[in-house]
Symmetry: C2
Subunit: 224 residues, 2 copies
């Protein structure tokens, strides 16, 4: 069969956000606060993963969470109730991503001077959040098994900007055509240095490794 | 526990696209072509659902498919191979949505005069595509069981602009905390008239109902 026709549709231009993100990162460094930007599709289990992970970290780190969501405070309430960690909700008014200035507005709502780690749970979206540097020290993402192992082929930018990819819902691997080795291969096509951490947020399996990764990151950020 | 803090982050302004979408819909009406805009999260099974559905419709309707994707032609190739239906890929250059002008650029690549139905598979994203009228006659969306039944609470606009919500991957209902009745209730909070059609695209279960909905829609569009 012939190859399919491809039509190039032009992209809108958006403002440059990189300089501002660099400034925010410098401010975080001076304060010794590590900001982690956590991204994923809707329904990949970001909030459940965060609850499990933060419960492992909260005795060692002073933490706050910023939840970006469209029109509810469901996630921030859940996290606060399940971990006791201060959580704020960022209402983005339907925006599909956060940039550095929006992240800074959020940070004004947490007490940065008394924190080691702030986690930003970005809007559930594999496209736009990847295009905007939030000023975070690192980007992490969660890919869940039901979404399929081909996602790094279809959302290349997201996978190239992330330093760690958590693969969630491994408990349902038997029920989906998800090839973990192929997924790792595709992830490394986009970012050869990305760490891949398979977990099940529901049962807690593998979450320790993600918590350990964050702990090391925060230590390094404060020391160097 | 106290309610969580909410910070309102301002939204960027985007150009008005509604008039253009209205013009496109009028053109489609004059040509007797029905355009369906199909939206969902990444990995919800849009392409597999389309293949199943179009195979049921292709003897009754003259169909073309436009695939909007980020950086590959995987989906268009799959659809063309599995159905024989002409499929084109729209490269959006990383854009997170399609507006009416972008849709029009796509339609220039299919032979509208010989068609009854064009399906636009929008970018996998529950946020931005809902904000832009593509000029389609109707919006449909697919929500898959692993994403969770709370999605209408978290992505209200998407569910309010859709006339039909296909709930895919019902074969894995036993393995997820997904409450179908609650999901229907939440969908109807956003859009009381939305049709809800549970299916399993993998096995074909329920797909007949979605095909029937499309067939009726196309007939009505041509008659009135």
């Amino acid at each position: 069969m012939d190859p399919v026709k491809i039509i190039e549709i032009k992209k809108s231009v958006f403002e440059d956000n990189d300089a501002d993100a660099g400034r925010l990162r410098k401010e975080l460094k001076e304060k010794g606060v590590y900001l982690l930007n956590l991204m994923s599709s809707p329904g990949s289990g970001k909030t459940t993963t965060l609850i499990r992970t933060l419960n492992l970290l909260k005795d060692n780190l002073r933490i706050a969470v910023m939840e970006a969501d469209i029109d509810s405070d469901v996630d921030a309430v859940k996290i606060k109730e399940a971990t006791g960690i201060p959580s704020i909700q960022l209402h983005t008014g339907g925006m599909c991503h956060l940039d550095a200035e929006m992240t800074r507005q959020g940070l004004a709502g947490v007490e940065m001077d008394n924190l080691d780690l702030v986690v930003l749970e970005n809007v559930g979206n594999l496209v736009c959040p990847a295009e905007f540097d939030t000023g975070a020290c690192r980007n992490a993402m969660i890919l869940s098994v039901p979404e399929g192992h081909d996602k790094p082929l279809k959302y290349p930018l997201m996978f190239s900007v992330c330093d760690v990819v958590v693969i969630n819902k491994i408990d349902v691997l038997p029920y989906f055509d998800f090839d973990l080795d192929k997924c790792k291969e595709y992830i490394h096509m986009r970012n050869p240095k990305a760490q891949v951490i398979p977990i099940c947020a529901k049962t807690g399996e593998g979450v320790e490794a993600f918590a350990q990764w964050i702990l090391e990151e925060v230590k390094n950020w404060k020391q160097h």
